[in-house]
Each structure stands twice: as structure tokens, then as C-alpha cells.
């Protein structure tokens, strides 16, 4: 290639012809590839390098302490156990299939949309399938191969005292188990030798066992403090005042006698009986002494069992620490079944049912709790049998990961299958149905209609339809279901209202324009909470019949009215961004103003504001959490409610983290889909031109 340049250096114009062809070379090694990226972006200058290193240290330290907490200390059982509550609230159990059906329809629609618009890549299909397979396989692998760590219970006649607490070991302990499981009991000799080993008990322990271990730990701690005080006193660096203070403190400290010796731990033989809960017949009996082999029994049926552990000699003083395999803490859940509203709006006959659920794997029984001597047997309830110490990684897997996977795997499978069916049926529809008049793919029309109809289907399924589906009690809507219902209804309802307000504000008729402007400005000047309260408190004053409207619907109306004002301003901005030439061209073609709005300006305006609209959907999705304040239990409200229950006190962090992930995940998916839409289709060229 020859280039001709006109060089004017030195005031002389002359033509230069260059016939040289420099060879094409590959770039230097450090100019391309990942290494170059690292150098250019992370270590470009000494300042960059310092920033990179400092950020790395901060990120790593934060992450590592978070992971240590998440594995060692966090109790994720609160999430697994309350999954249904978080997802559906107290939605009637016998109407649960409606939500399942709704989810399947939704997934089907998503599958069809993917087929029609986005064409999933093979990598994504592979990743999703593999993740689901991983969830299924690892759930069963963990259950099969990671042994569950044993529980520790104390036995004996001695009252165990530590600090302000005291506890006499219980004679009986009720637990639930499945048929075929094995329960084994032996003396926990590995912990009984001395206090250092006793203080290291980790695993589910009953109150008395935990007291023993805590007392031992405290004794060791006291001894260590005395040693450190003595070391300080022996140095010459202290002032007289400091020395006096240390001496006073030292005088208050006293090392109690060794705990193992105080309670003659594991010296007393313990008589063990394992009873069937219903009949109280003994399945196994035996006496345990130090070093004796474990007493084992394989359980015949699902349900309640009782572990009886009393000293062989009822007069003997002393305590024993038993290691029990096969017992896990239980949660009790009682709930109402058949609480729907009948046609007259009254709650139909209800009955309360108590369920007992094993924390570790959600095994559930409704068998009645055994009551020998007419007294309910003390059960291995979670509050009294908390996990002592940090979870080991296998325990983390076994206690939290496997149960969590077990809870989510079937719903996820249903969703995946419905999505795949949707994806395939889009192709099938195109194969067998002739193309429509508009020469569009038939599947495109089908899925568009499905998406348009979805909110209606959703409302119909969840709320009920006249005589076909019984109405559900809106007070029992909750969790993620309520959050999504509020979001979808508010978005759908506020859309036409917002567009109408935007057109109204731009209208040439002063009455309409002023009315729209006043509405928009008033609503935009008021916080959402206020609007929610107004819907709750002021609406009934306007018209008493509104007081009977369910709380949920009033919240929906409030959010809709609120959102419409913001949407109107967005739409107006979009309309202003459309060049006036578009209207002129349409006018010149003879279109009337209604046709121009519907065919020319509005579609383009909506395209322009699409990113802003998605932002609105996402913020609305999060803002619905404000309905907690007017007494609705959406996802956030449910989470707040859960952590006020006795069993889950102190588990706020776990619960909030989970709903945070849920909120984030859903928002991220919405944002991701919108990015795909923005960069594809007719709007892409429009947006590209605008930018």
C-alpha cells in the first residue's frame, strides 16, 4: 500500500510517495494477554501497586473472617427450617399447589421467552444442569458419607452448678427418628479424663452437658488468668497502685477443684433404656460404665423414642457424660390447617396440628409426643440442645448444606423442567403452527400473550377466582410470594396510570395538564411510608366501605399510586427525548395525534427510558419491604418475625443474609435480562444512536 502525504515542512509543499510495506509483527509479550492486563490494571504505577495490595489485604481479611463465621458459628438451620415461611408466609397448605403451579407456569414462560428471544448458549445450559446435579448429588453424598457428629447428654443424680446456672441431668430424653436408623449410647470417655479435654466438647449438647463443659472451660480460664496476673506481679514495671489493684483482683480469683473430679465424671454406672415412644416398650437395655462398649439399637419405625439414662445405683452421687449417636435436636411447629375464607368471608373450620421436625434433616413426624407418667417427656428441643463450640467443616456440610439442598432441590428441579419444557415447546409450536399473518414466529405471539396474561394468572391463582377457585385469606399471604405479588401488581397497575399522567402533563388542555402535574408533584413530595399509612388510615375515612378492603389490597393501591407518579416523570422524560421531527413526519403522513402517540412517540419513549424503568422495577421490588410497617409480612417482615421466635433468637444475621442474597439474586437477574433486552432488537439501534 502506498501512501501519499502532502508535507509542508519548512514552508515547502512537496509530495512524498511511500512504497515501503513494513512487516506485520506479533505484539510484545507483555502487551497482550492476562499478564499484561494484570500489569496495566493492578500494578501500573507504585500508587496502583499500593492500592492493589491494601485492597487485597482488606478483602482477604474480611472474606476470611466471614467464611470462618459462616462455617464455624452461623446457624443456617434457621433458614432451612423457615424456608416455607420465607417463601410463602402462612399461605394455606392445601392451596400450596397453586403457588407450585404458578411457579411452573412462570418457569414455562421464561423457557419460551429464552427460546424466542435470547437463545441460551450451550455453556449456560451445561452450568445450570451441572449445578442442579451437584445439588442433588452432594445432598445425598453428604448424608450418606459424612457421619453426623454425636450429641452429648449428661446423666446422674448430681446437680451440676456453674456460675448462676444449675441443672440436674434429665432422666429421660424424647427424640424422633426414622425407621432403620441406629441409636448408640456410650460413655464419652474421650472428654471425661480431665478438664482440658472436657472443655473441648463440641456438638449438640444438652444443658447439663454444656454446663459441665463450660465449667471446665471456665476453670481453665481462671487458672490462666491467675497465672498471667502472677507473671505481671513478678515484673518490676508496675506502680504501687497497679500492683494493689492486681492483688485485689487476684484475691477474688480462685481456681475451683477439677470438674471431672467434683462430679466423679463417668465413674458411676448408668442404666440405659431405649423405649418406643408409643408403647413405651424397651427396645434395648444395658448398663454403661467407663470403657464399656456402646449400647446400640436399630429403630423399627418412624416416630418418637425415649432415651432413659439413670444411675444404676440410685443413691450414688456423680455424673456421666454420654455420647449419643443418632439423636438430633427437634423443633416443634404447630399450625392451623384449612383456614381459608369461605364464600361468606368467614374462616372455615380449623384444626391445630403439632409437628415435630428434626433440625438436621427436616424429618417430620406428627406422632403424639410420649408422656410416661402422664407427663410429657422432655424432648431434645433445639434451644436446650444447642451446638457447643465451632462447627467443623464436615458438621457444617452435614448440618446445614445437605438439609438446605434437600429443601431447595425439588422446587429447583420443577422449575428447571418447566423451563426446559417451555424452551422445547416454543420450537415445537413453530414447527407445527403456520407463521402468523404478521410473518412473526407463532411462538413469539404465544409467549407474548403468556407474559401479558401472567400477572392475571398469578393473581387468579394466588387470590382465587369467584366460584372456580376458593378465595384465599389475604392476611395469610407472606414471604417472597407477597413481595412478588406487591411488585408485579404495582408495576402492572401503575404502568397505564403513569403513562396516562405523563401524556396528561404534556397535554394542551390546561385542566388535564394542571391536574396531572399537581398529582405527580404531590405524590413525589411525600415518602412512600406516608402514602402507605394514608392508605391504611385515611382511606376508611373517605369511604367507610374501604375499611373492609384487605390490608394487602390497600397497600397495593398505595404503592401503585406512588409508583405511577415516578413512572409518569420517567415517561415524560422519554417523550421529551424524542426529536420533534418524528411527530412532524407522522403528521405529514396523515396520522392523527392519538395514532402518533401510540405508534411513534410512546414506543420510542419507552425504549429510551427502558433502563430507567428496570431501575424502577428493581427499586420497587425492594421498596415493598416497607409494607412491614403497616403489618404485612413480606420477605423482610417474615425474616424479622422469625428472629423474634424463641428458637431463633440471635440468628438475625443468618436470616438477614439469606434474604439479602434473595433480594440481590432476583434484582440481579432482572438487571441482567434488561441489559440483554437493551442490546438487542429494534431499540438497540435507537439507543445506540441516542448515545
Amino acid at each position: 500500500m502506498a501512501t501519499i502525504s502532502d508535507s509542508r515542512s519548512g514552508g515547502l509543499a512537496r509530495s512524498v510517495v511511500n512504497y515501503d510495506e513494513p512487516p506485520v509483527k506479533s505484539p510484545p509479550l507483555l502487551a497482550v494477554g492476562p499478564l499484561a492486563w494484570v500489569r496495566r490494571n493492578l500494578f501500573h504505577s507504585w500508587f496502583d501497586t499500593i492500592l492493589t495490595l491494601v485492597s487485597a489485604v482488606v478483602i482477604i481479611s474480611v472474606l476470611s473472617s466471614f467464611v470462618a463465621w459462616a462455617i464455624g458459628q452461623a446457624n443456617w438451620a434457621v433458614v432451612t427450617f423457615n424456608m416455607r415461611l420465607l417463601m410463602l408466609g402462612r399461605f394455606p397448605v392445601d392451596a400450596e399447589w397453586r403457588v407450585a403451579l404458578l411457579t411452573a407456569i412462570g418457569a414455562f414462560a421464561v423457557g419460551m421467552s429464552l427460546a424466542v428471544w435470547l437463545r441460551v448458549s450451550r455453556t449456560i445450559v451445561l452450568i445450570v444442569t451441572l449445578s442442579l446435579a451437584f445439588i442433588f448429588i452432594s445432598a445425598s453424598l453428604i448424608t450418606a458419607y459424612v457421619p453426623q457428629s454425636p450429641s452429648y447428654v449428661a446423666a446422674g443424680n448430681n446437680e451440676i452448678v456453674y456460675s448462676a446456672s444449675n441443672e440436674t441431668p434429665q432422666a429421660q430424653l424424647g427424640f424422633i427418628a426414622k425407621a432403620g436408623e441406629t441409636v448408640s449410647v456410650r460413655m464419652a470417655d474421650q472428654y471425661a479424663a480431665n478438664d482440658p479435654s472436657l472443655s473441648g466438647v463440641y456438638g449438640f449438647s444438652d444443658k447439663a452437658a454444656a454446663l459441665l463443659a463450660n465449667a471446665a472451660a471456665n476453670r481453665l480460664d481462671t487458672a490462666a488468668r491467675i497465672e498471667s496476673f502472677k507473671a505481671q506481679l513478678s515484673s518490676d514495671l508496675l506502680t504501687t497502685g497497679q500492683r494493689a489493684r492486681l492483688n485485689t483482683q487476684l484475691a477474688k480469683l480462685e481456681v475451683p477443684p477439677a470438674i471431672t473430679e467434683t462430679y466423679t465424671l463417668n465413674q458411676t454406672p448408668i442404666k440405659i433404656r431405649i423405649l418406643r415412644g408409643t408403647t413405651l416398650e424397651a427396645l434395648a437395655t444395658g448398663t454403661l460404665t467407663t470403657g464399656a462398649p456402646a449400647i446400640k439399637v436399630t429403630l423399627p419405625a418412624d416416630g418418637w423414642y425415649v432415651l432413659e439414662k439413670i444411675p444404676a445405683d440410685s443413691e450414688a452421687k456423680g455424673a456421666a457424660l454420654l455420647e449419643v449417636g443418632g439423636i438430633s435436636p427437634i423443633l416443634e411447629r404447630s399450625f392451623t390447617v384449612s383456614g381459608d375464607l369461605d364464600a361468606g368471608g368467614n374462616i372455615t373450620a380449623t384444626s391445630r396440628v403439632s409437628q415435630y421436625i428434626r433440625v438436621t434433616d427436616n424429618f417430620t413426624t406428627q406422632e403424639i409426643r410420649p408422656a410416661p407418667d402422664d407427663k410429657n417427656v422432655p424432648m431434645a428441643i433445639l434451644i436446650d440442645n444447642a451446638y457447643r463450640g465451632n462447627h467443623t467443616f464436615p458438621d457444617f456440610l452435614r448440618l446445614f448444606v445437605a438439609p438446605f439442598f434437600d429443601v431447595i432441590k425439588v422446587p429447583l428441579l420443577i422449575i428447571l423442567i418447566a423451563t426446559v419444557i417451555g424452551y422445547i415447546s416454543a420450537d415445537l409450536i413453530d414447527r407445527f403452527a403456520p407463521p402468523s399473518q404478521k410473518k412473526q414466529r407463532t411462538s413469539r405471539r404465544v409467549v407474548t400473550w403468556l407474559l401479558i396474561a401472567f400477572p392475571v394468572i398469578m393473581f387468579g391463582l394466588v387470590y382465587g377466582v369467584g366460584n372456580v377457585l376458593p378465595l384465599t385469606d389475604t392476611r395469610r399471604w407472606g414471604g417472597l410470594l407477597l413481595t412478588i405479588m406487591l411488585t408485579v401488581v404495582a408495576i402492572i397497575a401503575s404502568f397505564p396510570l403513569g403513562v396516562a399522567l405523563a401524556l396528561g402533563r404534556r397535554s394542551d388542555l390546561p385542566v388535564i395538564s394542571v391536574a396531572s402535574t399537581i398529582y405527580i408533584e404531590i405524590i413525589r413530595g411525600v415518602p412512600l411510608i406516608t402514602v402507605l399509612f394514608m392508605a391504611q388510615l385515611l382511606l376508611p375515612l373517605v369511604n367507610p366501605s374501604l375499611a373492609e378492603m384487605p390490608n394487602v389490597f390497600r397497600a397495593m393501591i398505595a404503592i401503585t399510586l406512588f409508583n405511577a407518579a415516578y413512572l409518569a416523570e420517567n415517561v415524560r422524560g422519554g417523550l421529551q427525548a424524542i426529536p420533534y421531527g418524528q411527530q412532524e413526519a407522522a403528521k405529514a403522513l396523515g396520522l392523527n395525534s392519538w395514532q402518533i402517540t401510540m405508534n411513534i412517540t410512546l414506543p420510542q419513549a419507552l425504549r429510551v427510558i427502558f433502563p430507567a424503568l428496570v431501575g424502577m422495577v428493581i427499586s420497587l421490588f425492594k421498596d415493598t419491604s416497607l409494607v412491614t410497617i403497616v403489618g404485612l409480612l413480606d420477605l423482610t417482615g417474615t425474616a424479622q418475625n422469625i428472629v423474634t421466635q424463641t428458637e431463633f433468637l440471635g440468628l438475625r444475621r443468618e436470616t438477614l443474609l439469606f434474604i439479602t442474597l434473595l433480594y440481590f439474586g432476583i434484582s440481579y437477574v432482572i438487571a441482567g435480562v434488561s441489559r440483554r433486552i437493551e442490546t438487542s432488537g429494534a431499540g438497540a439501534t435507537l439507543l445506540a444512536r441516542k448515545i
Binding site: P579, G581, K587, A588, G590, L591, Q595, I600, T685, A688
Partner: protein
């Protein structure tokens, strides 16, 4: 190939009659006593310096701008405040803009079929057949399914012409159709316009393309400061123009 049905008023009356049009933008007097008659099948080119009111003048003819005094009669229909008259006149007049003003969210085919389907209630099949015919006529039949943003400026302007023709207008207005185009694309648009003129379309063209005016125009109007300073055949205009303002203008551009 040329099938534009020309139905001129039976009594041989002009297609467009403008009498004593006056228009103000606020205090500014844009059009001053403009009177023109355009005969059926006549090609009238409007030239003049910028700000002389030539664009405003042709935009008054299809009521994109409202004139405040005077009478405009198009194809026997008087242009007033009667919305039905405005709609009727707009159906008769096609317009092509400097900035193309294609609808960017619709494909080329949809751009062309929109107005016939919405305004004339033509069936989709007929409208699409007509649109394809027109695209072939402007020389870009293969671009039907693209979006305007994917086309070059010249192609976009040709689509705009096809879009205007789809309404089967009796009159075409061109408002500086080649001013926004790269030089190498001007010719393809002018060629389409020439073909259109030869087919017998009544045309009113605001342009700076003097060669086009010389070759195609039946009459040239020269605007300055809101009035018609001089008019005549191309030959007269380019060779024998009398008015000093015209002479000055021609001396600057030729």
C-alpha cells in the same frame, strides 16, 4: 414502472394556490404576501438564502406551520382550522425532510406500511406489496427488513421518499432533502427525485442543488426575506435574472 396516477382538477385549475400568505414567528415577519400557483405535474424548485422563509413556506402547505393571513387551497380544498380539511390535505401531500425523520423503532417495511394501514386502512398484504414495489422503485428492495439505523444516509432518504409515496400523494414536498447527506450519497437521492419528476408528480422542492434545479425544475422561485423576489424558468433564472438580490445570490453560489 411509473404508475403514479395523476388526477388533476378537471377544470385545469392549479394543484396548489397560495394567495397573499403572511406568517409571523412572534414579532418576526417570516412570510410576506407570498402568492404562488402550482400547476398539476409541475416541478417547482424553491431556492434562497437561509432564513429566507422557503422551508416555512412549504411547511405551511401541509399545515406543519400555520399561516396567519391569506389563503391556501390544495387540490380544491381550502386549508383552514377545519381538522378534516387538514387531514384530507395531508393525505394528498407527501413530504420528505432534511433529517429523514424515519421511525427508528420500525423496520423499513413497517415505516412504509404504517400510514397506509392506519390512515387509508389498506390491508397489510396490499400495503406490504406496495411498499416492496416502492422500495424497488427507489432502488433498495433488499433493505426491507432492516432498521433505519442500519442504513446509510442516502438509503434512509430514499426510504423516506418511498414512505411518502406509499400514501399515493398528488403532491410531494421536499425540504432540503440532500442537505444532511454526504456528497457521494446526494446523487442517488437526486436520481430518485428526477425519476419522480419525470413520472409526472407535482413537486415543490427546497434545495441548494443548482444542477438539479437547472435540469428538472419547470419553474424556480427565489425567496429572500420572506417574499418571492423573482421567479422563472431555469433558463431565465440562471441566465437572465434581473433582481440585484438574485444576482448577488447566484454570484455567491455558482
Amino acid at each position: 414502472m411509473i404508475d403514479q396516477q395523476q388526477t388533476s382538477p378537471s377544470n385545469g385549475e392549479p394543484m396548489i394556490i397560495c394567495r397573499q400568505i403572511n406568517k409571523w414567528f412572534g414579532e418576526f415577519h417570516v412570510l410576506r404576501d407570498v402568492s404562488v400557483e402550482v400547476a398539476p405535474q409541475e416541478v417547482v424548485v424553491v431556492i434562497g438564502p437561509s432564513g429566507s422563509g422557503k422551508s416555512t413556506f412549504i411547511r405551511c402547505i401541509n399545515r406543519l406551520e400555520e399561516h396567519q393571513e391569506g389563503t391556501i387551497i390544495v387540490d380544491g380544498i381550502e386549508l383552514g382550522n377545519d381538522l378534516r380539511n387538514i387531514a384530507a390535505i395531508r393525505r394528498e401531500i407527501g413530504m420528505v425532510f432534511q433529517q429523514f425523520n424515519l421511525f427508528p423503532h420500525k423496520t423499513v417495511l413497517e415505516n412504509i406500511t404504517l400510514a397506509p394501514m392506519k390512515v387509508r386502512h389498506t390491508s397489510r398484504d396490499k400495503a406490504e406489496a406496495k411498499a416492496k414495489e416502492l422500495l424497488a422503485r427507489v432502488g433498495i428492495p433488499e433493505q426491507a427488513d432492516k432498521y433505519p439505523g442500519q442504513l446509510s444516509g442516502g438509503q434512509q432518504q430514499r426510504v423516506a421518499i418511498a414512505r411518502a409515496l406509499a400514501m399515493e400523494p398528488k403532491i410531494m414536498l421536499f425540504d432540503e432533502p440532500t442537505s444532511a447527506l454526504d456528497p457521494e450519497m446526494i446523487k442517488e437521492v437526486l436520481d430518485v427525485m428526477k425519476e419522480l419528476a419525470r413520472s409526472g408528480m407535482t413537486m415543490l422542492v427546497v434545495t441548494h442543488e443548482m444542477s438539479f434545479a437547472r435540469e428538472v425544475a419547470d419553474r424556480i422561485l427565489f425567496f429572500d426575506q420572506g417574499r418571492i423576489v423573482e421567479q422563472g424558468t431555469p433558463q431565465y433564472f440562471f441566465e437572465e435574472a434581473q433582481h440585484p438580490r438574485t444576482k448577488l445570490f447566484l454570484s455567491q453560489i455558482l
